[in-house]
């Protein structure tokens, strides 16, 4: 009981500390931190419209975060959120360009599904490489991020470019306006709250169900905890490592299609930079997942928090003339604190365990990611010394 409480309070403390540092930075920039935070709060929650914007910003973070949680349970680290978002967006955009006249009732689910397929494929590539060629998935997913950004820039500036851009000679890398039948319906008129938001929340719930209520999730977790025992029980470890990355990627891909078809411009557009299309959702989603203890359900509130940070920062800039990138900095500080507080939490829990003797185990070597598994409803993954040889 006590242990759970500590588990939950440490990330919150990390957030509070991060905001404290944010306050110091505001002071350094010559702004009043209280006014600053007030502006952020107002920016994020000040009106129904703003709350809707916050929710929309949170949407890709929920999805990427839930996806990463799945991979993590299979002890696979997916840093490829950016590439998976882009793959999902591109594939669903191509579909919408080619089938603009399908009725919305078909086209909307179809573009979402296609987005998930795109992400699935972009995740399967590093998955196959890891499972069959022992390629480290951290490296391959990061490389794939770089590749996909360039691929997107090429497609949007060439084969997929809006013909109007060519004829006008402006050459902005964007597609033509996509069929209105593909647009995600707005749920509350006057706001940007669209269908993507509940879809993302449902997807996170589905991730939870997958992990803990289905045989597939059972096998993913078995492979994550002890690949040797999983193998001896007849589980195909390589296949499930591939699945872990591919399924994780499909969540990013879904986020990608939501970014396109939930956008105001109703088209896919890039500014050529790495974050131009995704808004770094592939990375911010990792932050949200870590803050949510790599648990798909906790990722939902966590993503809302970071969504609020992002929308709040815009208002901060508007009111106090402080750069919005302060929010990014606060993001970074939260990550630092959350990760280091995982160690702290381990220490505090150890202390409590000594006193109330809740749990005891000989000195285990925590897994590579155990340090970041915080605030989790489930026990952080542990890796007993005796099972420390390679996974595949």
């Amino acid at each position: 009981m006590l242990k759970k409480l500590v588990g939950a309070s440490v990330p919150l403390l990390a957030a509070v500390t991060a905001f404290f540092f944010g306050a110091i930075m505001l002071v350094a920039l010559g702004a009043n931190p209280f006014e600053g935070f007030q502006a952020m709060l107002e920016g994020a929650f000040g009106s129904g419209e703003r709350i809707a914007t916050t929710a929309v910003r949170a949407t890709p973070l929920i999805l990427v975060g839930a996806g990463i949680s799945i991979a993590f349970r299979a002890r696979v680290i997916n840093i490829g959120g950016e590439s998976q978002i882009i793959a999902g967006a591109l594939l669903s955009t191509v579909l919408a360009l080619n089938a603009p006249d399908l009725p919305a009732i078909l086209l909307v689910p179809l573009v979402l599904a296609t987005g998930a397929v795109g992400g699935f494929l972009a995740g399967a590539v590093p998955g196959l490489l890891k499972a069959h060629a022992h390629v480290n998935e951290i490296l391959s997913t990061i490389m794939l991020n770089l590749i996909m950004v360039q691929f997107m820039n090429y497609l949007l500036g060439g084969p997929l470019i809006d013909p109007l851009q060519t004829s006008a000679g402006t050459f902005i890398p964007q597609t033509e306006r996509l069929s209105d039948n593909a647009a995600l319906p707005t749920l509350v008129s006057g706001t940007r709250l669209h269908l993507g938001v509940p879809v993302a929340v449902l997807a996170a719930v589905a991730a939870f169900v997958l992990l803990w209520k289905t045989p597939l999730g059972f096998r993913l977790r078995a492979v994550g905890h002890n690949a040797d025992a999983a193998k001896a029980a007849g589980i195909n470890v390589k296949r499930h490592i591939t699945y872990a990355l591919a399924i994780s990627g499909s969540f990013g891909g879904l986020a990608g299609s939501i970014l396109v078809f939930g956008s105001e411009g109703q088209r896919m557009v890039t500014d050529g930079s790495a974050a131009g299309f995704t808004g770094s959702a592939g990375f911010n989603g990792i932050v949200a997942a870590l803050f949510g203890g790599l648990h798909p359900l906790w990722t939902i509130p966590s993503a809302f928090l970071f969504g609020a940070l992002l929308t709040g920062a815009v208002q901060l800039q508007r009111v106090l003339q402080v750069p919005a990138s302060l929010a990014v900095t606060i993001n970074g500080i939260v990550v630092l604190f959350v990760i280091s507080s995982a160690k702290l939490r381990g220490y505090i829990e150890g202390r409590i365990a000594d006193r109330v003797t809740e749990s005891e185990e000989p000195p285990d070597d925590p897994g590579p990611l155990a340090d970041v598994a915080i605030g989790s409803l489930d026990d952080p993954i542990q890796n007993p010394i005796d099972s420390s040889d390679g996974v595949v």
């Binding site: 169900v209 209520k213 289905t214 045989p215 059972f218 096998r219 977790r221 078995a222 905890h225 002890n226 040797d228 025992a229 999983a230 193998k231 001896a232 029980a233 007849g234 589980i235 195909n236 000594d354 003797t357 809740e358 749990s359 005891e360 185990e361 000989p362 000195p363 026990d379 993954i381 542990q382 007993p384 010394i385 005796d386 099972s387 420390s388 040889d389």
Partner: protein
């Protein structure tokens, strides 16, 4: 040295509670200089817990420890090692990617700080292994070693640290009779030096031969102390379990049936790149238990892994019921009726972080009994698990308890319950009762014999010669990757088999 009355160690009034269980309750236990004091008790009786407290791995809730007459607080293994307490754990505490020498040196100060001094360590290991007959190569990585060899490394580690009080938590579970004899000579030698020894084993004849004193725990409490002179194996068994126990299994006479598992000309390369199974052929028939006896490291592990589909073979074929499965996946072998109890339970047999219930359905979690329309039926899984836990007498607070917090023998029971539960056609059982208490071993043996009567073929790979002699219909002796002899259990002589295991063959 010491005064007459001074004990090497005294543990007084030790109580330790875990959620849902009292592992130790007001336990008082001592060891004198030059004495072997054995702790006996069923799985989950609290033996390892008491030793973990002594070694500083977990704090006691109540009670005190006196070492050499002085109260002492041991709050970590480092404290214990400083106090010259050594412990050989029930589960290996070795870092697999490191070599033997590196494992031994781990945690010790090097003479060439901050660099390691592995040459010196290796040299000393050589000396110790020569002196005590514990053959291991210091430069081998631990993951390449067999369980028996790992056990030797653990003992070497404690010897290297020159422990005065040595705790051996089931050190013989994986050793052959000869190795056990050798080990006992070493241990006796150490005790004659004035050292104290705490010995834990479920093998009563070992307990009878090594101990000076025996203390029996049941449900965390001391139920009595005795000496080998005052007791028999039967009386010890009864003291532990609280009822009479059948020590030698009785099995009906059966005519061997059709071949269920056929292995022809099998050759396998081991982890060290050398031939570990060499052109081996053997058949296991329906209604037969074929025992494979051998010193660990003679290819048994590789053979078992190849049959289970976890290790590629170089040549030869494996058939289940006439169907070639040499290249089949583990899953399809299991579908063909194979069940597999691996020798290393914490690595290959169970997932420590999973609950007891999850481990019980690890193999057949996807069956229609447990999953309907893609979703688990938690009620069905719970019912199945509770039945198995009751049937096999697994001692656990609930079926949702993480498996790693169970006692060693109880984890083994979970694995046995799972593998026997699928009613296998062929059971590949490596050390099936390793670390299991005699009461439960009796139960598992009975179940193995029942499977046999139902027509299953069992390949029993065990270093416990008594188990092989008691259960098997035929005994295949394995030496250096080959089966050097197959004898009918009825004509088998313990000594003769022991010699063949060591490679001594009369023509």
């Amino acid at each position: 040295m010491s005064t007459e009355s001074q004990k090497l160690v005294e543990m007084r009034g030790i109580t330790k509670r875990y959620p849902g269980v009292v592992a130790n309750e007001d336990v008082t236990f001592d060891v004198e200089y030059g004495e072997v004091h054995t702790l006996l008790g069923e799985n989950g009786a609290g033996k390892s817990t008491l030793m973990k407290i002594l070694f500083g791995l977990t704090p006691a809730d109540e009670g005190e420890v006196l070492l050499r007459g002085e109260p002492i607080s041991i709050s970590s293994p480092a404290d214990a090692i400083d106090a010259r307490i050594g412990m050989v754990h029930q589960h290996f505490m070795l870092v697999q990617p490191l070599t033997v020498a590196e494992n031994v040196a781990l945690g010790l100060r090097s003479g060439r700080r901050p660099f390691t001094d592995l040459d010196v360590v290796s040299k000393r290991i050589h000396e110790l292994s020569e002196a005590h007959g514990l053959a291991v190569d210091p430069s081998t990585e631990v993951w390449r070693l067999s369980v028996g060899e790992r056990q030797r490394v653990e003992i070497l580690k404690a010897l290297y640290r020159d422990a005065e009080l040595l705790v051996l938590d089931e050190p013989t579970a994986v050793l052959t009779p000869q190795e056990v004899d050798d080990l006992f000579v070493i241990l006796r030698h150490m005790v004659d030096d004035g050292r104290g020894l705490i010995f834990i084993s479920h093998k009563l004849h070992e307990v009878m031969s090594l101990s000076d004193r025996i203390t029996v725990l049941r449900n965390g409490r001391v139920v009595g102390s005795t000496t080998p002179a005052e007791s028999t194996r039967e009386s010890l068994a009864e003291m532990m379990v609280g009822r009479e126990v059948l020590l030698t299994p009785r099995k009906p006479v059966l005519a061997a049936g059709r071949p269920r598992l056929s292995i022809r000309d099998l050759s396998i390369t081991g982890d060290r790149g050398a031939v570990s199974v060499d052109n081996l052929s053997v058949e296991v028939h329906a209604g037969e238990i074929l025992g494979v006896a051998g010193v660990s490291g003679n290819g048994q592990r590789e053979l078992a892994e190849a049959i289970a589909g976890l290790r590629p073979v170089d040549a030869g074929t494996i058939q289940i019921d006439g169907t070639d499965i040499t290249r089949a996946t583990t899953a399809s072998r299991r579908e063909a009726g194979l069940a597999y109890v691996p020798e290393e339970r914490m690595r290959d047999g169970a997932i420590g972080e999973f609950t007891v219930s999850e481990n019980l359905v690890l193999v057949n979690h996807g069956s229609s009994e447990f999953a309907k329309r893609g979703l688990f039926s938690h009620a069905a899984i719970r019912k199945h698990s509770e039945d198995k836990v009751n049937e096999y007498g697994v001692k656990t607070p609930t079926v949702d308890t993480p498996t790693s917090s169970l006692s060693g023998g109880n984890i083994q029971k979970v694995i046995m319950a799972r593998e026997l539960g699928v009613k296998p056609g062929i059971l590949l059982a490596c050390q099936p009762t390793r670390g299991v208490d005699i009461g439960s071993a009796e139960y598992i043996h009975r179940r193995l014999i029942e499977q046999r009567s139902e027509g299953a073929g069992t390949l029993l790979i065990s270093e416990d010669l008594d188990e092989v002699l008691g259960l098997a219909d035929r005994i295949a002796v394995m030496f250096e990757g080959r089966i050097v002899a197959i004898v009918d259990a009825a004509d088998a002589k313990r000594e003769a088999i022991g010699l063949m295991m060591a490679g001594v063959l009369d023509d």
